[in-house]
Symmetry: C2
Subunit: 333 residues, 2 copies
DNA sequence: ATGAAAGCGCTAACAC
DNA sequence: GTGTTAGCGCTTTCAT
């Protein structure tokens, strides 16, 4: 910048202003400076700007996993609005470990990001680290996987209703003993789905509400053996709702292996955005979350918070509904 | 930092050194400083450090799309090594538009990132923007989708051989008229796969090598109609290799719609890492790229370049082989 | 409309 | 082992 200034015989402040298209600078000077910058291949140093302005122009996204269609789509939504705002996006993958999540949150609490979007791990059992962020005045918005009981804005789907609906669907299709496969009893979205499911059984007086929620630790080998046990016990279910995509996939593989016929012996509904649902064998009935819009909306709320930098900790809650798409895996005989 | 210094009655440089665990500082002082930092909730400002050190501690990844299993897995690989190195990862999605790619590359050429990993769009037809990065002395490594003809390190899979193998596989399974569905004639990985395919037909004197490569523009509606046309023309193929995941999925959906029996009337092999391959209807024969390792290796090479900051523009090329996994979609009658 | 100068928070060279 | 100081590249206030 100094070089540029010398070259053009103007001051650095003039350059800075010109590069920011300030109205204080004449068009002629602006053009001269812009041209010279281009010619000399000069660009502002973003970190010097950040340091001076105390804004990084960056947001961080902390999420469990990117190799999951839901999260990929959500990132697309987030990125679409960040791009429009001229912001950069840092991605952190917690891999479902709360210890990673905490250190990542701490990393973001150094001024590195102007705001954080977060989808918590299935282990996350307290919200202190997240509250600390807010306390230090850096805006946070949950997308999809919220942590309940703390005043943080969030964009989620209608988990309870979807859980309810999934049970009704299985009952309608003739299931006598439907079961909800939960991935974690500390993950609130999962619990809400489970609660909706259970409530439906009670309302309709079907199945065994008290025994209808089966928890299945993630981590593949253990998960698989738990599913196998479930599918071979005496009062085995004739209908299963998979609370997350991964469980649905495992269920299919295991059913195939155990030669259990879907939907004949077992009907399946999965919470999932997986694109291959219509071409699976059999095609899979899914409850599809509006992943892109969840990400997009969460980012929009975050930017609203970033832009009005007052300390208004309003807790905005947006609920975007999921859609049940019926396919062969839950077909009535 | 100044506050901390005042509080503890030491100098700022002592603090800086202590926080970086310098051997110049006594353990007692270090502990005192670390404790106080924790107590006062103090952390280094990363942008001030970046400014001073002329290193950002950040790498950028530019890729077409994250909602694609291959890229998701590659990101996991990249992130795993970035994390180990204590680096942060900026993600940019070009959405297959070269114009986006160019502006993203330019963004990265401001000192924002210490190195760039890039998988080019299917539109990218020159490497100038990328050469400019290298010229400005910021290291670049291609992962998977390289741009050929410029001296940039790259980590790719054995595309030619895999293409060759895919043709041999279809021929072995009895196909008389196998076709390779290409997504773009400017994407080098796709061309290499196609070239391998064609070479196999020539070597084995099967099919119609000159007409065996069919290009299919991406962008969904057009793509679908092109596939339909292919599947209903007079000399329609009895075997297809889908050059990328998305094409394979579309092919399945359309075949289902058109009631074409797989593998009876049409055998399919897809370049894909999709997890649902074994539970598709029918299960899908895939050529699986080592996505995680491609990302991981590319990141490792990038860090090697970042760390030895000399201007050695050695062009390192790593080829990690793909694996053909045979399933029902290509089964012999 | 332009320029001078202070300072954002840190690091590193050097002095003690 | 600890302190002093210059300066990274920029923005912004104030002066002209």
């Amino acid at each position: 910048m100094k070089e540029l200034a010398k070259e053009l015989k103007v001051s650095v402040s003039t350059i800075s202003k010109a590069l920011h298209d300030s109205h204080e600078i004449s068009d002629r000077t602006k053009k001269k400076i812009l041209d010279a910058a281009l010619r000399l291949n000069y660009t502002l140093n973003p970190y010097a700007s950040s340091l001076r302005k105390k804004r990084s122009g960056t947001i961080a996204v902390i999420l469990p996993e990117v190799a999951d269609n839901f999260f990929s789509l959500a990132i697309n939504g987030i990125q679409s609005v960040a791009e429009k705002k001229g912001y950069h996006v840092l991605i952190y993958l917690s891999h479902e470990k709360v210890i990673n999540e905490k250190s990542m949150v701490a990393e973001c609490n150094t001024g590195r990001a102007d705001g954080i979007l977060i989808s918590v791990t299935s282990e996350t059992s307290d919200g202190e680290h997240i509250m600390k962020l807010q306390h230090d005045n850096i805006p946070v918005v949950f997308f999809d996987r919220e942590f309940e009981g703390i005043p943080v804005s969030r964009v989620v789907t209608n988990d309870f209703e979807s859980g309810y609906l999934s049970a009704i669907h299985l009952i309608d299709k003739g299931c006598k003993n439907p079961v909800f496969l939960s991935i974690s009893s500390s993950l609130s979205i999962c619990n809400k789905r489970a609660a909706g499911f259970k409530t439906a059984l009670i309302d309709k007086k079907k199945g065994h509400p008290a025994k209808a929620i089966v928890e299945c630790k993630s981590g593949n080998s253990e998960m698989n053996s738990q599913i196998k046990k479930l599918l071979s016990r005496k009062n085995k279910p004739d209908g299963i709702v998979a609370s997350v995509e991964r469980l649905g996939m495992s269920l299919y593989l295991i059913a195939q292996e155990m030669k259990i016929s879907i939907p004949g012996d077992l009907k399946i509904v999965a919470f999932s955005t997986v694109e291959t649902a219509p071409i699976l064998n059999p095609s899979l009935t899914t409850i599809v979350q509006p992943a892109f819009d969840i990400g997009k909306t969460a980012a929009e709320i975050l930017f609203k918070k970033i832009e009005k930098r007052e300390k208004i900790l309003t807790e905005e809650i947006v609920i975007l509904p999921s859609t049940l798409i019926e396919r062969r895996s839950s077909q009535k005989k």
